[in-house]
């Protein structure tokens, strides 16, 4: 059973989708219940991964499966090649963990075409899980595209007033990135075949990473991948699809988008862009770090001025993911593990914040900050949970956000990105400004708007949705080693591999330069 665990986990939602498609359209509750059960079972299927101690010691891919899938003569070979290591482990679990929560949040929120929504959600889950476990670039690309379509429909059909603009924008931005990546993927394959890698290996990442791609070619390929992932992250200045997509998307869509889809971008850098093109990554590090710092500060100051809570949270994502990227590009253990941990943290905290905004929206059908104020008295349980998530997002020590941010900033400070770290640290101040200001305007003060007089506190279902998230806020805050110790071996391995390649490249460059000097002198 454990041999096929990953496939079972990935395709179980797809099976669930087929079941949902055969359910009667009118039985809304049944459809939602079945979907919920499917996602919960998927979570339990994935759970053995969390308890497997092999990740503590081994950097290698585990639970690998391999099958030849499509081959065209001796020219093209694509394999079903999957596995999980310390880098993808927690992202896979985050996905299976968030999905039931997202489904549960739709209980009252999605009231039209719920069958289609649930089917798309399950398809999306398969896409996301597949993307995280793919060890074959082409397979990854298929799953990557598979995620795009359900999300496009989720925004376009179940979104708010401006949904068409938002969904088209989302689609165009991401599709543009995907196309560039596709060209680059095919080119790498072509190059690998030229370089003598047996074509039976297909698009295997491991084999691509072992190639010695010349520097100028690396630059172009890296840029193609980097742009594609940067859009997904999203990094400044290609972030503008995100606020629109988030604001228009239904709550469940926002939660999935923030918690998991954005991580595809950062994960893409860690898994593909950097290890495949280490020298180019090194060359572009100052450039990307600059964008990270701009993103951190820019996202924060723009978030500060928002009048729509959901838009504010969306911009805060730009800021938070700037931190993640800075940690990744620090390319040392603290920075990278902080970045990986912060991906999980962001999934939990920002996912929770979108749920919180959803609760408000379901009650008042508005998300404008000015419409609220003083509702803490009417909704004390809600207020407490909101505060916990706000503090987690602000990175208060004792919560998950702190550990991630601290590791990222420390890692960046220890790397050559020292000054970037100093500027990024100001983001810590700004986060407090925009989050607490929002919290103050929404929750405390006098209750002035009569429309808020009859607000009901959270229902039992809503509390159940939030409790697991709260648990992890404190778990990761107090004992992050549970997560860190299982990702560190893989990260250390990755850093060694990337660093050694970068050093070799730098040595060659030095030798070439001195050779040029010698030539000039002669």
């Amino acid at each position: 059973m454990s041999n096929n665990l990953l496939s079972l986990m990935t395709f179980f939602p797809l099976v669930g989708m087929l079941v949902v498609l055969f359910l009667p359209r009118e039985s809304d509750r049944l459809i939602k219940s079945v979907t919920l059960v499917v996602t919960i079972i998927t979570f339990f299927i994935s759970l053995p991964l969390a308890f497997d101690d092999v990740f503590r010691t081994s950097a290698a891919m585990q639970y690998t499966e391999f099958a030849s899938w499509i081959s065209i003569g001796e020219y093209f070979q694509m394999n079903y090649n999957v596995g999980v290591d310390g880098i993808s482990l927690w992202l896979v679990l985050l996905t299976t963990f968030i999905m039931p929560i997202a489904i549960l949040s739709t209980w009252n929120a999605i009231d039209k075409h719920s069958k289609a929504f649930m089917a798309l959600a399950l398809l999306l889950e398969t896409g996301m899980l597949g993307a995280f476990i793919s060890l074959d670039l082409f397979l990854f690309y298929i799953f990557w595209e598979l995620m795009l379509i359900p999300m496009y429909f989720m925004i376009g059909i179940w979104g708010g007033k401006n949904r068409i603009y938002a969904s088209v924008k989302f689609f165009l931005f991401t599709a543009l990135g995907s196309l560039l990546m596709l060209v680059a993927i095919i080119y790498v394959y072509y190059y690998s075949v030229q370089a003598g890698v047996p074509f039976e290996n297909g698009f295997s990442i491991a084999h691509f990473a072992s190639l010695d791609i010349p520097a100028n070619l690396q630059t172009w390929l890296f840029l193609a991948f980097a742009l594609s992932f940067a859009i997904k992250v999203p990094m400044f200045p290609v972030h503008t699809w995100l606020p629109d997509a988030h604001t228009e998307a239904p709550t469940a869509g926002s939660v999935i988008l923030a918690a998991i889809l954005l991580k595809m971008g950062t994960y893409g850098y860690v898994r593909f862009a950097i290890p495949l093109f280490p020298e180019a990554a090194h060359t572009f590090t100052p450039f990307i770090a600059t964008l990270c710092v701009i993103g951190i500060i820019y996202g924060a100051v723009v978030a500060m001025m928002q009048d729509d809570v959901k838009r504010l949270v969306a911009y805060s994502s730009v800021s938070h993911l700037g931190f993640v990227m800075l940690g990744v590009f620090a390319m040392n253990l603290q920075g990278l593990s902080g970045g990986m941990l912060q991906m999980i943290n962001h999934g939990i905290s920002t996912g929770a914040l979108f749920l919180i905004v959803g609760f408000l929206y379901e009650r008042r059908h508005t998300r404008l900050i000015a419409e609220f104020g003083g509702i803490a008295k009417k909704m004390p349980v809600f207020a407490t949970i909101f505060l916990i998530m706000t503090l987690s997002s602000v990175g208060l020590p004792g919560t998950n956000g702190f550990v991630g941010e601290f590791l990222i900033l420390l890692g960046a400070f220890e790397s050559e990105l020292r000054w970037y770290a100093v500027f990024a640290t100001t983001g810590v101040i700004l986060a407090a400004v925009y989050m607490l200001w929002m919290f103050q305007r929404v929750m405390v003060g006098k209750l002035k708007n009569p429309a808020n007089e009859n607000l009901k506190d959270l229902s039992a279902r809503e509390v159940v949705v939030m409790l697991p998230l709260i648990l992890f806020v404190f778990w990761i805050g107090i004992y992050p080693n549970t997560f860190l110790e299982k990702m560190n071996p893989s990260l250390e391995n990755l850093i060694d591999q990337v660093k050694s390649k970068q050093q070799v490249a730098m040595m060659i460059e030095d030798v070439e330069q001195s050779a040029v000097k010698v030539a000039v002198i002669e």
Partner: protein
């Protein structure tokens, strides 16, 4: 030996969780809630006392307890660990002792408040965070407490959630504190990285830092920058220039909060932190000098604002800022013991003053409420002559007032005098730091007696309808007053200097913590002054004289000639307005920092995001739309048009072929 050290911080956390989760729906009873919360802190106090005496008789003075690992990534190994040494032992006594008394006081003070359970839950959470700060054995656990107390301060300042001003003040406190935390974090990074990469010592553990700190090199750039960063953190937490502005606003919180957090404990965290990292600070004379000068400037600047405030709590708030300035003078001139000593005596007399003001406000509020008036219950101009109505409050307030004014024999006299002596005579001191400190001492005496006279003496200015409803507070409130008043009276006797024939117990007690750095980096009273008792007596006489002068002026202006202040205000209206408006510092900060940041945010959003980026994106989309709209005209669907195009194309191809 000290196996249950971890319980000291955990007790209040348990209290917080019990009251927070069960207080509203299940316990409900005010008494039970109050007893749980107070009991939790009191248990910590008892344990602290036990361990304190144990430590007195223990030849080993530093004890660490590691509970479990916290963050472990490569060479970064951080534990959940606690440290018990003379410094933390003393701080534990102050925090849990004063904390228990203030909790007890709050049982009466908060009576009838709908947020009763919430209040005590937050208060317990605060004590927990403060104890983490004090007992953490590494800088990161300290940082948990450091930010944790900031959070609780935020929650408690904004406790009255209906008041917008309270919400604003709470947010301001948190954000300004975060600016300081930014410095703290950078300091951590710099120390960790420099010690690690250059000397192979990857640590944030205080004991190891004290041991290996010298590797950074005396006067080195790294240690100077790092300690300056830490000091930025201290200016935020301990309300020093330039980050002091949040503390006066923090008075929006309930008065016990002001007493506990904004007088006795949290605001002294910066002083404690410097004490904890004394080895690092001692290595950078530049930083030490900065600390001393900032402390001196804050002491005198805040005192000047204290002159013109009419809100009783605001006077005390500025007084706190000013007194904290003294503690930083002490840390800056290397008088670490004197700084901690003043921290302790200040905790006694300032907590007492705040609780007294709370007692007055409580009585005033009650009376005004009874008479259906909305006069300001905190405005001293509505008080006067309360000494007969509230004798216990009056006496304890008066004792503390005399103490803070530096009258010989009371607690603050010893601690303040020790600081001023070091400011003058220390190898890191200078005459001007001493001079500023001495002048500020006189100013302190003036405005504190002004406060005393306006509140308790003279004619009773309370509205006639409310006058008779003013009563002394209940026992649960006055007992803490009496205990704190007593401590304000005698608390200084543990630190009577040798020159006055005392044993200076506190100096010897803290020796294991501070002695090493002082010896290694030649911090102490200058050799030339070492035996000059005459000078020490002389300086003491000057500071006593200045204090009495301040008291005399206050007596003259507010007791003998009550019209004089009014005339003075009229004679110098601009000056008075500037002082009354706190020298417009808040307005300056708004104009220089707050508003530009907001405008920048709006510009980034509406200017850059919407116009530039989306402008390009939408522009591209439009352009493609236009091109395709143009091309669409070729798709006419008419056969002869296509035929014409085909013929044309063929002609062109043939032409190319032929002409080639």
């Amino acid at each position: 030996m000290y196996d249950y050290l971890w319980l000291i911080p955990i007790m209040p956390l348990i209290g917080c969780i019990i009251n927070g989760l069960l207080g509203k729906k299940f316990i409900k009873n005010e008494k039970v809630i109050g007893v749980i919360a107070t009991g939790a802190v009191f248990m910590s106090f008892l344990l602290s006392v036990k361990y304190f005496f144990q430590l007195l008789g223990d030849p080993v003075k530093t004890h660490e307890q590691v509970v479990m690992s916290w963050i472990s990534v490569g060479n970064l190994q951080i534990d959940w660990g606690f440290l018990f040494d003379p410094l933390s032992a003393l701080m534990l006594l102050v925090v849990t002792g004063v904390g228990s008394l203030i909790h007890l006081y709050s049982i009466g003070y908060m009576h009838g408040d709908p947020g009763y359970y919430r209040f005590f839950s937050y208060m317990n959470l605060f004590v927990f965070a403060m104890l983490m700060l004090v007992t953490g054995n590494n800088a990161l656990v300290m940082f948990i407490g450091w930010e944790g107390v900031g959070l609780c301060s935020y929650l408690l300042i904004g406790f009255y959630i209906d008041k917008k001003s309270a919400g604003d003040a709470a947010k301001k406190a948190f954000v300004v504190n975060r600016i300081g935390d930014f410095g703290f974090l950078l300091g951590l990074f710099l120390v960790f990285w420099t010690l690690g990469s250059e000397h192979g010592v990857w640590t944030l553990n205080f004991v190891e830092l004290a041991e290996h700190g010298h590797l950074l090199g005396f006067g080195g750039t790294a240690v100077t920058i790092a300690t300056l960063c830490f000091f930025l953190g201290a200016t935020g937490k301990s309300a020093q220039i330039p980050l002091y502005t949040w503390l006066p606003d923090a008075m929006e919180g309930p008065t016990p909060v002001s007493a506990l957090i904004h007088a006795a404990t949290m605001v002294t965290a910066g002083v404690y932190m410097i004490g904890r990292m004394n080895v690092l600070f001692a290595m950078s004379p530049t930083t030490m000098m900065t600390v001393a000068i900032i402390g001196a400037l804050t002491a005198i600047f805040a005192a000047s604002i204290g002159f013109a405030q009419n809100d009783i709590k605001r006077v005390l708030a500025y007084s706190t800022v000013s007194q904290l300035g003294y503690m930083f003078i002490a840390m800056g001139v290397g008088a670490f013991t004197a700084g901690i000593f003043h921290l302790m005596t200040h905790a006694f007399f300032k907590a007492c003053l705040f609780l007294c003001s709370g007692s007055v406000i409580h009585a005033m509020h009650h009376a005004l409420h009874h008479a259906h008036l909305d006069d300001d219950a905190q405005d001293m101009r509505n008080m006067g002559g309360l000494r007969k109505k509230m004798p216990i409050t009056f006496i304890t307030f008066a004792i503390s007032c005399v103490a803070i004014a530096g009258v010989p024999g009371l607690s603050a006299f010893f601690s303040k005098d020790e600081i001023l002596w070091w400011a003058f005579g220390s190898t890191r001191g200078s005459w001007y730091v001493w001079a500023i400190g001495a002048i500020a001492a006189g100013m302190t005496a003036f405005y504190m007696f002004r406060c005393l006279y306006m509140t308790f003496f003279g004619k009773q200015k309370t509205n006639a309808k409310a006058k008779d409803h003013i009563h002394e507070s209940p026992l649960s409130m006055t007992i803490p007053l009496m205990v704190l008043g007593f401590l304000a009276l005698v608390g200084g006797y543990i630190g009577i200097p040798a020159v006055l024939g005392g044993a200076n117990h506190i100096h010897h007690f803290l020796e294991p913590v501070f002695g090493h750095a002082q010896e290694a980096y030649h911090i102490g009273i200058k050799e030339t002054l070492h035996h000059s008792h005459a000078l020490e007596y002389g300086l003491m006489a000057v500071s006593i004289g200045v204090g009495f002068f301040g008291i005399l002026v206050a007596t003259f202006m507010y007791m003998m000639n009550p019209d004089l202040p009014g005339k003075f205000t009229k004679a110098f209206p601009k000056f008075h307005r500037a002082v009354f408006n706190k020298w417009y510092v808040d307005e300056i900060y708004d104009a220089l920092v707050v508003n530009p940041t907001k405008s920048f945010g709006t510009f980034c959003w509406k200017g850059f995001d919407v116009k530039v980026i989306d402008g390009i994106v939408n522009g591209l989309a439009k352009l493609i739309g236009l091109i395709s709209a143009g091309l669409r005209h070729t798709q006419t669907g008419l056969f002869h048009n296509y035929a014409l195009a085909m013929v044309f194309g063929m002609v062109v191809m043939v032409a190319i072929f032929v002409l080639r």
